[in-house]
Symmetry: C2
Subunit: 204 residues, 2 copies
Amino acid sequence: MKIILIGASGTIGKAVDAELSPRHEVVRVNRKSGDFQVDITDAKSIADLYARVGRFDALVATAGHVHFGPFEQFTPEQYELGLRDKLMGQVNLVMQGLKHIGDGGSFTLTSGLLNEEPIRAGASAAMVNGALEGFVRSAAIEMPRGLRINVVSPTVLEESMPAYGPFFRGTKPVPAREVALGYAKSVEGAQTGRVYRIGWSRDH
Amino acid sequence: MKIILIGASGTIGKAVDAELSPRHEVVRVNRKSGDFQVDITDAKSIADLYARVGRFDALVATAGHVHFGPFEQFTPEQYELGLRDKLMGQVNLVMQGLKHIGDGGSFTLTSGLLNEEPIRAGASAAMVNGALEGFVRSAAIEMPRGLRINVVSPTVLEESMPAYGPFFRGTKPVPAREVALGYAKSVEGAQTGRVYRIGWSRDH
């Protein structure tokens, strides 16, 4: 398969690359490096990417930013950043990708546990992750041509604990290579409309 | 309690009014009628509302629009409508309301089942409902002064079946007076960070 990997240079992206590249052609895309570059907050940049890459079989998005900050101090502009970037950036990759992806192809997006397991400063992340999961469940039932869509919701990464550990006390981290399995299941399996929770479970 | 009811003239709003007004002072707010008017997509309009209403004990939001349409034809502007209106309209009511609500007060928002039980044409509704639920779970753990926040997720209303029935075949509708109980539980109970699913359950 020809797989477009958005965010290939990130911690999750590199693990997905290592998991999928032995079996597939991985097209590595980042904001400023890789085989191609894209700014997912810019519809024109996404259009340019697809025009240059051509037909493909799967898209994996592991990119997207949100603002973290104390709830009472959140501004409309800070919520907007997450809606523009991690949410609509990934959604627009899907919407524009519909015209370029081959029959039976798949889209795999990235959310995260914070909408179900909130932490301090994470109101925007919770909002965006919940939005992505609702979108994926709904998009799945209207996908044409046998296309599929799933989302991977990782817990905190072992690799991120030096930086984010204080926000995630009591949360068991997983290595990125384990998170990468969720993307392989989505791309190489046959399921659709699923949220793959890696390293945690929704039990409430 | 002094309860601000946004969307008081709607089907759910009227049922919430009937449920709560025998025990509380209900301030009825709509876009163009009621005791006060507000456009929840306009931050200035929300600020004006709170300045005029003064101190209050609970806010209930039953208002908010999203676009419905076939998935493949959805435009960025159509997604934007739902993010601006039903999502950030309700979120901005909360964020601005923090400065005006009394200690121990509550916010109760409205989502809907479509993020977990998608229907055709409902991609934006699914996105927005998921976002609201993630936001509420996260906001709840950072609320100051004993403030609480919950969201009611109703199934389709009996009163809406003449108009929306074809989109909800196989879904058991509930009367709006039953949905109103979710708002009473949120306002008059002591829970926080909860999604009150009325007439349906999340079993996956």
